[in-house]
């Protein structure tokens, strides 16, 4: 066993355990915290695969932004922490079904793959033309040339989702006092800068 293998087993066992805790923890906030732990260890596995750019992006986007908002919402909701046992059994069939679909898809992909999965070098760098580049450059050079259309499309979809959620939650409230900074700064007659002499003071009109 090498150090790489050892770290892989540590990371993956922590992922599995924390994923288990996500669905079995009684407190929803604990679930989210375990989810974050799973994300972090997934990033660790990316690092082992020499995909350090993906690892960092995973942490920045999922852990640093998405999961924070997750945690934010779950903390605010104040959900009752006790979940009935029967409740879990109720969702068991559909959960098992989704799990089965995932495993089936993974097996199909792995059977039909043309890559040599036992070779670490090929796994971390399947396309030969990027052997020389760092993986940040490799991703950039593919993403913005061959797949620019898909990339832009994803951006537009996200933009639409953002505008949609803003439109859905936007409401005009009456009686709210808002500060307009430019208006405040541009009023001229109301502010006076006065040099106050020592021991004399000024009269306030």
């Amino acid at each position: 066993m090498t150090v790489t293998q050892l770290t892989f087993y540590i990371f993956s066992s922590v992922i599995l355990l924390s994923a288990l805790m996500v669905i079995s923890a009684r407190n929803p906030v604990h679930s989210v915290l375990f989810l974050i732990l799973a994300f972090l260890n997934a990033a660790g596995i990316f690092v082992i695969l020499h995909a350090e750019f993906l690892a960092m992006i995973l942490i920045i986007v999922y852990v640093g932004a998405v999961a924070v908002l997750f945690l934010f919402v779950v903390m605010m909701l104040d959900i009752k922490t006790t979940i009935e046992k029967s409740n879990i059994l109720q969702y068991m069939p559909i959960g098992l079904f989704i799990g089965f679909v995932f495993i089936a898809e993974l097996v199909i992909v792995l059977i039909n793959t043309k890559l040599e999965l036992s070779n670490m070098q090929i796994l971390s760098n399947p396309l030969n033309k990027f052997a020389e580049l760092s993986n940040t450059k490799a991703i950039g050079s593919v993403l913005y040339t061959d797949y620019i259309l898909h990339f832009q499309l994803a951006g537009v979809i996200l933009l639409i989702a953002m505008i949609g959620s803003i439109v859905l939650t936007l409401r005009e409230r009456s009686g709210v006092k808002r500060q307009s900074v430019s208006e405040q700064l541009s009023r001229s007659s109301k502010i006076d800068l006065v040099d106050v002499k020592s021991k004399e003071g000024i009269d306030i009109k």
């Binding site: 150090v3 407190n27 750019f53 942490i59 920045i60 640093g64 932004a65 924070v68 940040t136 500060q179």
Partner: protein
């Protein structure tokens, strides 16, 4: 398993040695930073600041630390005790972990990874969890408010910090911190990218919850924010984590805009001084600015803070990304063109 440890025993010792090598100077730096912070603050207000313990009051901070260590650790009754105790540990561990990639001189860096700047950005974006966990697990109103404020604030300002970093990266063409410094051989980036330097500095203040953006611990409204229920050792861990983060932001400003370990002019008496001294001097200068801002500027209101982040800095940094990339492309200045 045993064989593995045996065959890598030397590496293991080396890793532990490196950890100590990061931690000891940081500990010293934090003690000095705390002292400097209080002294500068006092000087602005015409006070003396710490001046009793040791020469010039230099031992005030270690004395305070010792006092905290011997205090009782109070665990609030209704708190989530595991999360409550993990939170300060996470804060401190993350703030130290980020220093692993900071180069203090050419080649003097613990881990010279390709995605150094992304690593620091990722680790500092994790810092919010310590605060969120502390605020939630305290099971008390003020810490909870503090944590919510802090989360919203840090997420908001991270966006503009990200765009500022992108403008710098476009000028460098690499995510490696050493290469970012070496790209500033001719001109330090704070000259061509001056507006971004200002945006980064102010966002760094907000990101580290420093005054005038210390709303998560605004004592006039929230007692002490997310730290309210903490005492003794866990409180010290928070304090240390916070100051190490501040030093990290100072180091980031130095690396991204002030030319890292490079001397101001590449002429004889200046370039004979070793790089890490320049680095420390620049970090000190940035920290001095941090301390002065704390002393001068009154605290922002929360809506003003959010307005500054989303309505001023975000558009400004987005426009800067577009303008910088256009200029680099048009004049063919971009690296690799």
């Amino acid at each position: 398993m045993f064989n593995l440890i045996q065959s890598n025993f030397f590496d293991l010792i080396l890793i532990i040695f490196y950890c100590i090598l990061i931690f000891i100077p940081l500990l010293l730096g934090v003690v000095l930073a705390l002292y400097a912070d209080r002294k500068i603050w006092a000087a602005v207000q015409k006070r003396r600041g710490p001046n009793v313990v040791g020469p010039y009051g230099l031992f005030q901070v270690p004395a305070d630390g010792l006092k905290f260590i011997f205090k009782e650790i109070i665990l609030p009754d209704g708190s989530d005790k595991t999360v409550f105790l993990i939170a300060p540990i996470i804060t401190l561990a993350l703030s130290i972990a980020a220093w692993a990639v900071v180069p203090v001189q050419a080649g003097v860096v613990l881990s010279n990874i390709n995605v150094g700047i992304l690593y620091i950005f990722a680790i500092s974006s994790l810092g919010v969890y310590g605060i969120l966990m502390a605020g939630w697990s305290s099971n008390s109103k003020y810490p909870f408010f503090g944590a919510l404020r802090s989360a919203a604030q840090m997420v908001s300002y991270e966006v503009s910090i990200g765009f500022v970093i992108v403008t710098v990266l476009m000028c460098v063409g690499s995510l490696n911190l050493t290469e970012i410094v070496m790209a500033q051989k001719t001109v330090w980036f704070f000259i061509p990218l001056f507006p971004m330097f200002i945006v980064f500095f102010i966002s760094a203040l907000a990101e580290t919850n420093r005054p005038p953006f210390d709303l998560p611990e605004a004592e006039s409204e929230l007692v002490a924010g997310y730290q309210t229920e903490y005492s003794g050792m866990p409180f010290v861990l928070f304090m240390f984590g916070e100051y190490i983060n501040i030093l990290l932001m100072c180091a980031m400003t130095t690396i991204l805009f002030l030319g890292g370990w490079l001397p101001p002019l590449d002429i004889f008496p200046l370039n004979a001084i070793p790089g890490f001294i320049w680095f420390i001097l620049k970090v000190t200068l940035v920290f001095y600015m941090f301390a002065m801002v704390k002393a001068f500027v009154p605290r922002y209101r929360y809506d003003q803070l959010m307005r500054l982040g989303w309505k001023v800095f975000l558009p400004l940094s987005l426009v800067a990304v577009i303008i910088t990339s256009s200029i680099l492309f048009f004049f063919e200045l971009a690296p690799g063109m």
